[in-house]
């Protein structure tokens, strides 16, 4: 079904046939635009950005490129087309037809799941709103804004579900999503990682590489949901999420590339010399990686979780690639390995698979992050530089779950409070690291020009050349 652009809210859900819902969303839309204008990208609202807009959910239609002023971006509601024969693929309701409406007994749980997911979308726009002022190139600025408008659209997707299926409660939640603010002491965003600052472009690339990848796995798990509108919404969001991870993965890879070029050219691996050359030394990149990896790891919650078990058994949230896993899809009686602390050692043990679903999703995410890090490592390898990036131990620098009360080194050794205090600066970005990275952040906004600390991309967006004018300023 194509998207009806003649309506105020572009959609492929036949919004016009449900006047109550349409009016509710039309009421929410100006509030959303107010939020965007207040909390969206700073001082660039009048710039024309070469953006991708979905014009239909068909494979050939949803990547339409043109110059758009961000406030004029057509945020809308797009769901992957409905599969009439889809049945529930896991849990106690396995084999039954999927639900088009929310069953009463799961109403509050599903609402909480959707609100939590929805809250991350505007949060990341808020976290990133200053970055346009320090972009390393027009190409990167365009990518930032593409990420931002699509996070905005993901908020729309979640608000649609709240309005369409959760009545008055849902409408109130929709308003609250526009009222919370990332990092606000009184009314913060729900999840801790989304109240952290994204102060510089290295943090932004790490965030999109690592934290948006959490988004991918959460959306993928929700795409398995028995609640069909949620499933179809998440499926379409996943296609957009891929671009965000591309921005992060290629962004960091280009920083590594630039650093390695300078290391090879000047025959040095001395971080001080690299910094003097205006690039980010590899150990600093590793510390940023450690930070973002550990903070994002917390988003998966407790290793052992009865909530996760209930969500699964009730058919609300599945595993990553649920339908591709060959088992009974009920997990009664099966086990899954988790970590535990016994005495002064981290050990492995088996726990009932149902209660370890958070950990399992985290593990799937870790494997995906690790594959990306392996691709980063091809860059120093190509330059003949022995440095390799590694992921820290799962227990490193955690605030949630089993490891919250311990200090664990990146290699997985338990540490005393004193040891940790003494050594954590080796593993996490120090105030000095952050100040140095911050000092590199100057705005480069001429077509084809790139800041000194980052290499140009190997290909442009939509086959445009790298020196294409991706953002036009009036």
């Amino acid at each position: 079904m194509s998207i009806n652009y003649s309506e105020r809210i572009p959609n492929n859900v036949d919004l016009a046939s449900n006047r109550t819902l349409q009016r509710a969303l039309e009421h929410w839309q100006p509030a959303y635009l107010d939020w965007w204008n207040e909390m969206g990208p700073e001082k660039t609202q009048s710039a024309e950005v070469y953006l991708r807009t979905a014009i239909s959910v068909e494979p050939k239609g949803w990547a339409h490129f043109d110059y758009v002023k961000m406030p004029d971006y057509r945020w809308g509601i797009f769901l992957t087309p409905r599969d009439e024969n889809r049945t529930i693929s896991f849990g106690a309701h396995k084999g039954e037809p999927v639900w088009q409406e929310v069953p009463g007994e799961y109403r509050s749980t599903l609402r909480r799941i959707i609100v939590t997911q929805g809250d991350t979308e505007p949060a990341s726009v808020e976290q990133q709103r200053h970055l346009g002022l320090t972009c390393p190139s027009l190409y990167d600025m365009r990518n930032l804004f593409q990420v931002n408008v699509e996070e905005g659209r993901h908020l729309w997707a979640m608000v649609y579900l709240l309005h369409a299926h959760f009545g008055r409660d849902g409408r109130e939640e929709g308003e609250a999503l526009l009222e919370r603010r990332s990092g606000d002491a009184d009314n913060p965003r729900i999840l801790t990682a989304f109240n952290e600052k994204t102060p510089d472009w290295l943090s932004f690339f790490m965030f999109t590489f690592i934290t948006d990848r959490d988004g991918k796995f959460q959306l993928a798990a929700l795409a398995e949901s028995a609640f069909d509108p949620l499933s179809r919404t998440c499926r379409f969001m996943l296609t957009e999420e891929a671009h965000h991870m591309f921005v992060g993965e290629s962004g960091v890879a280009r920083i590594i590339q630039r650093t390695c070029e300078l290391m090879a050219q000047h025959k040095t691996d001395d971080p001080a010399k690299i910094r003097a050359l205006g690039a980010i030394d590899l150990p600093t990149l590793q510390r940023y990686l450690n930070f973002h990896f550990s903070v994002t790891s917390d988003l998966y919650g407790n290793e052992i979780s009865s909530n996760a078990a209930t969500f699964y058994t009730n058919g609300l949230k599945g595993r990553f690639d649920e339908t591709k896993i060959a088992d009974d899809h009920s997990l009664q009686g099966s086990e899954y390995p988790v970590l535990d602390v016994v005495g002064d050692r981290v050990v492995g043990r088996h726990a009932p698979a149902l209660s370890t679903l958070n950990e399992r999703l985290r593990d799937d995410w870790v494997a995906d992050v690790a594959a990306g890090v392996a691709r980063w490592n091809r860059v120093p390898e190509k330059h003949g530089i022995p440095f390799r990036f590694t992921l820290p131990h799962k227990g490193f620098h955690r605030r949630i779950g089993l490891f919250a009360e311990y200090h664990v080194s990146p290699q997985g050794e338990l540490m005393s409070e004193a040891d940790w205090t003494h050594r954590h600066g080796e593993w996490l970005p120090t105030a000095e690291d952050r100040a140095f990275v911050h000092s590199l952040m100057g705005r480069v906004a001429e077509p084809g020009k790139f800041a000194n600390w980052i290499a140009p991309p190997s290909v442009g967006i939509n086959k445009q050349p790298v020196n294409f004018e991706y953002v036009r300023f009036s």
Binding site: P59, K60, G61, W62, A63, K216, R235, L238, T239, E241, A242, H243, M245, F246, E249, S250, D368, A371, G372, R375, R378, E446, P447, G448, P456, S458, V459, G460, N462, K463, Q464, P465, V466, N467
Partner: protein, 409 residues
């Protein structure tokens, strides 16, 4: 094709660039017939399943999906081959990239240059297939200056140079009549990178020196504008000052219609001024190198300049055998002689020109300053009138048959 052996059927194989792919799974999700799969390392395309529906192309966030290689049908890259790659295998000579569009500068310049044609141009039916846009603004080729010689006399008012660029091991195949883009280094007054400049290739397809990977350009140092006001041409001065061994950023090649016919017996009527002689030199040299094949057909050249010393390639042209080419020089500033322009000579040679216009195996090429267009058009009209032909009817027919080509600047 010879590398694949006789009788081998060549087909395109859809491949994913493992260097750019981020393993987001979007393509696999999108594919309606499960032609895409992956292992712990790479995403790959099943050759025997993919039917080129292209559903995966637009959703790919990286562009990694948009790749192919030409392979023998019975010997495609296997999934095992693809799983083992860190990078795509190098593109063979059969892969012509088809980028989204030509650089804006190229489209704009081409539109102006071919306006005199008065309609959509077609290449001659026997033109060779041109490669275009192999090297983009994002990834220009780097050429080395192999020579830089002044073509005009020391006392001539213009400094026109013959510049030879060598591409080393970089593929940069060109045909006579095609152009290449030069990216001058540095930025303009506004701090933006300079626009690219287009130059017609002055050497034949097999190189300025046969069998070498080089080509030549005919570049006039620009020191005044069309009205004669002093102005320093950024790119022409950059090129004219280049020394042997210096590196140049080159994009292209460009041009798909201003191409020479290749069939035996085809004739070429060339009208040019100044550096508009570059493509004429390329075509003439191509024919000269093939003289021994006795393929037939005539070459006729009308070449205008102020004086013999101002005329690029005057010496070499004078040495060409008469049976190869019929040369007609028009000089407008020779002391004590009346001013003569190319259109005057076309009228003088009316019989020969009319014979060529009537011959469906003859092709007309006009290249030079914009100002010559009108005069040449009127001269050809006069030739037609004198020989009971209708120019207004003939011109569209010539265009339709790919027999009339104009490039002016």
């Amino acid at each position: 094709m010879t590398t694949q052996g006789e009788g081998t059927e060549l087909v395109r194989q859809h491949l994913i660039d493992p260097e750019i792919c981020i393993r987001c799974n979007t393509c696999e999700e999108m594919c309606p017939i499960d032609a895409i799969t992956h292992d712990g390392r790479n995403y790959v395309v099943k050759f025997d399943v993919c039917d080129w529906c292209n559903d995966c192309i637009a959703p790919c966030p990286t562009g990694a999906i948009d790749n192919f290689r030409t392979v023998a049908k019975e010997r495609p890259f296997t999934l095992q081959d693809q799983y083992g790659w860190d990078t795509l295998p190098p593109a063979g000579e059969l892969e012509v990239e088809t980028p989204a569009e030509l650089p804006e500068d190229v489209a704009r310049i081409t539109q102006v240059a071919t306006a005199g044609q008065g309609g959509t141009a077609r290449p001659p039916w026997s033109a060779a297939h041109p490669y275009v846009n192999l090297h983009t603004l994002a990834r220009p080729a780097i050429a080395t200056v192999a020579g830089n010689y002044r073509l005009t006399a020391e006392d001539a008012s213009s400094d026109i140079r013959h510049i030879v660029l060598d591409f080393g091991t970089t593929a940069f195949p060109v045909l006579e009549g095609q152009s290449i883009g030069i990216l001058p280094p540095g930025t303009d007054a506004a701090g933006k990178p300079h626009h690219l400049r287009l130059y017609s290739v002055a050497s034949p397809r097999n190189g300025e020196r046969p069998g070498y990977n080089n080509l030549s350009l005919t570049v006039k140092r620009v020191d005044e504008d069309h009205e004669g006001a002093p102005v320093r041409g950024v790119c022409s001065n950059y090129l004219c000052d280049l020394g042997k061994g210096e590196k140049v950023q080159v994009v292209g090649p460009y041009g798909t219609t201003f191409l020479m016919p290749n069939h035996p017996g085809s004739s070429i009527l060339m009208v040019c001024t100044g550096t508009g002689s570059a493509p004429m030199r390329a075509m003439t040299e191509r024919r000269r190198r093939r003289m021994a094949l006795r393929e037939g057909g005539e070459l006729m050249l009308f070449f205008g300049a102020r004086a013999p010393g101002e005329l690029p390639y005057f010496g070499p042209l004078m040495r060409l055998p008469k049976e190869l080419i019929d040369i007609n020089f028009a000089f407008s500033r020779v002391p004590d002689k009346p001013k003569r322009y190319v259109q005057d000579l076309i009228r003088e040679r009316s019989d020969a020109v009319a014979r060529l216009l009537r011959d469906e195996n003859s092709y007309v090429y006009i290249c030079g300053l914009k100002g010559m267009e009108r005069g040449v058009d009127e001269a050809l009209r006069d030739v037609c009138r004198a020989h009971a032909m209708d120019w207004d009817a003939l011109l569209p027919a010539l265009r339709e048959q790919g027999r009339y080509h104009v490039e002016t600047y």
